[in-house]
Symmetry: D2
């Protein structure tokens, strides 16, 4: 029987994606909870997620420092290699019975290689989806290494089956991120003024309408990032609506984006922008629920956006072909089209809430599956 369940978190986004499952595993005495942090999740520069995680009551078994400075395709590869070296030592010590691979970020390949080469079974959440950037390749490769699949949508479940995975190991449970949104919404909404004032930029007034910009690099378009970032920031400037801008993740190209954020900010080119590295997830969800529109290329507008009915303007190729509800408008990197789409969405207002990415019961379903697993065949074989 599965006993020691190990979670490896590499970033803030990763944490949001699996938190509800972590909580469920931790509070169930049948399981022994193991937690390893790596990559950007241990770094202050990316908002010190490790503090946040400890404050949420999770104890951390090991922190891995493996992010090599540079934020280029080269250092992304190297950071993954270093993570693999360190993580294999950690697995050797913790001896987990099952490792959770969450999503499709570059460092998750290190988790999956360390575990599979060491004959440790892998459970994968959020597999089977379709997007752009290098994540698209990573996600499907992870599927080919994983033993239990917990896709977030029905389409994703079907795609995993088509990829040659045994249907007995595919469990459509919905997205654990939605569990967390549901939980947050069930509580009283508190907009922690202290935290809201900690960002950099204009004084932010929670009671006035605002937009959220969440924008990350597309590693496979590394050379275009400067131009694309300028375009998107020019739109923010033109719109002249208070805008919360979130810090980019640690993918190759991230420092290019961050640098332009700083240039624009320090040259006063963004009159109504407020920058955050470090929004607690519950606060973020409340802000998302309240905003006029979420703009950029984060999956959040598509996933949580669907559940909340938040208008979303999705720019460029990063979320290419990801399943989406009617709350999303796709636009290319063209200033005019971006602005028109945002204006349309603001005018339109909130959409009907959807359940494309689940109904908030993913973690329960996952726990139930784990409890019924008697043993996992470590040797995989494609079904066709």
């Amino acid at each position: 029987m599965l006993k020691k369940i190990c979670f490896v978190i590499g970033s803030r986004a990763n944490y949001s994606s699996i938190k509800s499952v972590m909580t469920a595993v931790k509070s169930d005495r049948k399981f022994s909870f193991q937690l390893v942090l790596s990559t950007s999740s241990v770094l202050q520069r990316y908002g010190d997620v490790s503090n946040l995680i400890q404050n949420d009551g999770f104890s951390i078994d090991e922190k891995i420092f493996n992010l090599i400075e540079g934020e280029t395709p080269l250092t992304m590869a190297k950071s993954t290699g270093l993570c693999l070296i360190e993580l294999s030592s950690v697995f050797s010590r913790l001896k987990p019975d099952l490792v959770f691979a969450v999503g499709d970020r570059f460092e998750v390949m290190a988790v999956v290689l360390a575990a599979s080469y060491m004959n440790i079974p892998i459970a994968h959440t959020m597999g089977g989806e379709v997007t752009g950037t290098i994540d698209e390749s990573i996600r499907h490769a992870i599927t080919k290494f994983s033993h239990i699949h917990f896709p977030a949508t029905k389409e994703a479940a079907e795609r995993i089956r088509k990829l040659g995975e045994n249907k007995d190991n595919i469990f459509y449970v919905g997205c654990p991120r939605i569990d967390y949104v549901k939980e947050v919404l069930s509580k009283k909404r508190i907009y922690n003024k202290n935290i809201l004032s900690q960002g950099v930029g204009i004084k932010f007034d929670i009671n006035k309408p605002f937009i959220i910009l969440s924008y990350h690099p597309v590693t496979t378009e590394f050379e275009k990032i400067d131009v694309q970032t300028r375009q998107i920031l020019d739109c923010v400037n033109t719109l002249d609506i208070p805008t919360i801008i979130l810090w980019p993740n640690a993918d190759a190209g991230s420092s290019k984006i961050a640098k332009l954020f700083r240039v624009y900010r320090e040259n006063k080119l963004l009159k109504k922008a407020h920058f955050y590295k470090n929004l607690p997830t519950d606060l973020y969800i409340n802000l998302l629920d309240k905003c006029l529109c979420i703009v950029g290329n984060s999956s959040s507008g598509i996933r949580e956006g669907n559940y909340l009915g938040v208008p979303c303007v999705n720019i460029g190729s990063r979320q290419n072909s990801r399943e989406r509800g009617c709350n999303v408008i796709n636009v290319p990197f063209e200033k005019k089209k971006i602005i028109n789409a945002i204006k349309f969405q603001i005018k339109n207002g909130k959409y009907k809430e959807g359940k494309l990415y689940g109904d908030g019961t993913a973690s329960q379903k996952i726990i139930s599956v784990l409890k019924n697993v008697s043993s996992i065949k470590i040797q995989k074989q494609i079904t066709y």
Copy 2:
């Protein structure tokens, strides 16, 4: 247009699998040839393949020393991480237009991650096949990172298509190993006595009937390796037929096998065995063609065996479900069944030659495809 074509070789087997393509690329002035060696291919302990490669006229751009001693699942993971760290520096310097990923060995994941994270297109040979051991997961994951596919069989080509790869990028060409077999057979057969006497064990007489044993670890059955190796060596002993035993590859578990080889040898338990670490590939092919039967779990008996019509007894799960011709008998790790199968095959003698893994024209076809590629879209997307 593709110009700089980079090959990364990790082992002796890897080299045999791609040599004909290397020769074709090197001799075509349209291309610029790049060669990187890593993992076991640079080590004397595994038969100093780098010498062999240089003697074959290839110049080596870089040698990577990344194999961490131990030969356990842990060190297999770590060696891959170190390979990724070093290889990304090498790619950063060589700036290839295309990298060849060959087969499905553990270190090939480092090739594929370094290239894909750095936006370098990947061509994959021998994808789409089905086997056991960790190679099964690695092979399909590599497919999900690769841009051009050169499968060795029609079934494999179809499987790659089912995995969601665009059929315009799948080229059924046959196995480049068969090209090499064909080339060797077209020459006068020379059994280099000097080399034949270099192995360890009984004096080997090429003019008497003999068996070949080629046997590698199944990493996903790491704990059973000792028992399985003993079983197989006991069969060799019982049969009492002169046997060429080849050294295992660098997978986790290899040192367990090597240790038992030594124990049996030094305790004189194998009266008619001759051990080789270092058979030149052309000599190996000639011996394969001449032997009574090839025994073990190498793919060689299945691939080249089919082309040559050599009787093959395939033991255990390593080649599970790999496509095979009628020259192959599958048996589990049971002494009696192994011995019976070998006796049956010897009695039966040579089979009709087959073309399951190609007709020896793979490299020509690959070159022809490469010449017609105008550009490669670095961003992949699953077809369904």
Copy 3:
């Protein structure tokens, strides 16, 4: 004879310390010039020294990305390990006849271990000095691995001899940094307004009196860095004199300092400060020569300060016991004492120029030594 001379630069400070020697080697046809960049010198966050170096006409053989994010004692150790792994591959390719180890920064240990383990002779500049922080241990350890010593002061030369080095291999040449200062002073002084306006903070007026603050972490006092940084920034605030603040180096603790710099700046606590990550060295020297006083714990106030006669207030233990001229006042981390010392120095004005760290002919002397070396005995032995 020595032919291929390899320089490994790890930081901006490193570059300033060896630039005059690099220029001399590069322009002498007897030598073949090799250059490798590593650690903070390849990173934008530390002012993109690689650009600067290329603009100065040096071609770069290899860039090593090895700085692991975190800036803690842990990541300082890891970054050194990664540098050692990558640098040994680079040396294996470049095959230098001599490697220059410059100064005493943490990553220089990687240079020295890679070279010495690979039997490549090492020349060391700026050895034999005494200071605080981990540099003190590193510097003397480097001496014990080095084959030719080029100390900057007579005392340092004597100390190297006492450390058991053969006196035939010790050449007192002065500090190559002073060569560079001399060269810059010999040219017309240009204060590039474009660059001066690129920093962050108040508008900086070159024609009004100003102070320079150059302050780095003491790794052996890692826990006290926050308190010490606050103290020093409070002094800047109290003094109310325009102050150029330079970015800290990449030692453990650097991000703590940088964070406080940002906090003070964004909370408008430093009314007259201007921050630079990226001052070209020639501009820095001109500013140093012109400033009222240099404050902090950089060696620059002691070395170049002595040559220029610039008043210097040296705070804390980082430069403990380093040889210094009368231009330097030492103070502990006490606000009142720091302020008094600065006021005293401003009132006092410029000091007489000194030659404690050489007269600007170090690089000539080094070249002359290198030309006369016929061979270097790779095996060292202590003299007593």
Copy 4:
């Protein structure tokens, strides 16, 4: 007060050198014992020291797999880099109050850099001695990083003082290896026949006279190793006296030696040799005490040899200038001189026992020092 005392063992020789101190620390309730194994000590190929250590009753906190195959100067550097990366993670978890750096092997630099960069105090045993090979540089560099010194001889203690270390931190205690010899001799001598028969080669008869050959690479003479090894093996052959040959350590060049050992053995060129990878230390000491002469370049003949009065023929530069008693004859790599010296020593027979390297009370003295340390100043400073 010092509480958590951490030992990092990298090889079999390392273990013998510190075992008596480990036993003393482990059995004292004032201390908390921590043990980390790395490099060759975790590998079967080098005689599986980790098993031996566990059988001796020590529990292992962490095993580090960092030895990169190749056994060249390049891989020696890389293995050290990898050890530094892994060891810093281990220290971060174990948080020792003091780390023991033992001797002068290449991987000990990783111990010393990890500890010193992370502000963990270092105690060094066997510092201040003089020898050849890269160990000479490493040993003195370690002294410059260490906080407490436990030299094995008076001369070594004096040399450490001359190196600028504070005499209050230098404690002449003798060599802990002698403690172990004393302990073994105090017990009944048992020559485990089972183990004695486990080596490879001739049947070994403990009751007949025999020689011991213990021979390791000199890394700084990497190119000469083949020639030197042949010379030494030819002597063994000529002498025609039963000879116990011990396996070389993991230094660069070791595989060259091992390869020649195999070539000679498999070509029956050593009629009376018996090879051991894996002699338990107590058995080794008994054999040393009993042998006609110890030949080669191991320090054992000089250290333990002096205490036991065993005749020793020390060949080549590896032990250059190491303090020695009258039991040692030094010879260059010349067959005639080696043979003459061995014959002379055999004729001469046992020498008077000496106390040059201590009287077997080193560990007691070390424990007593550790108990009296109230605190260690982490910042070092040279005394002159």
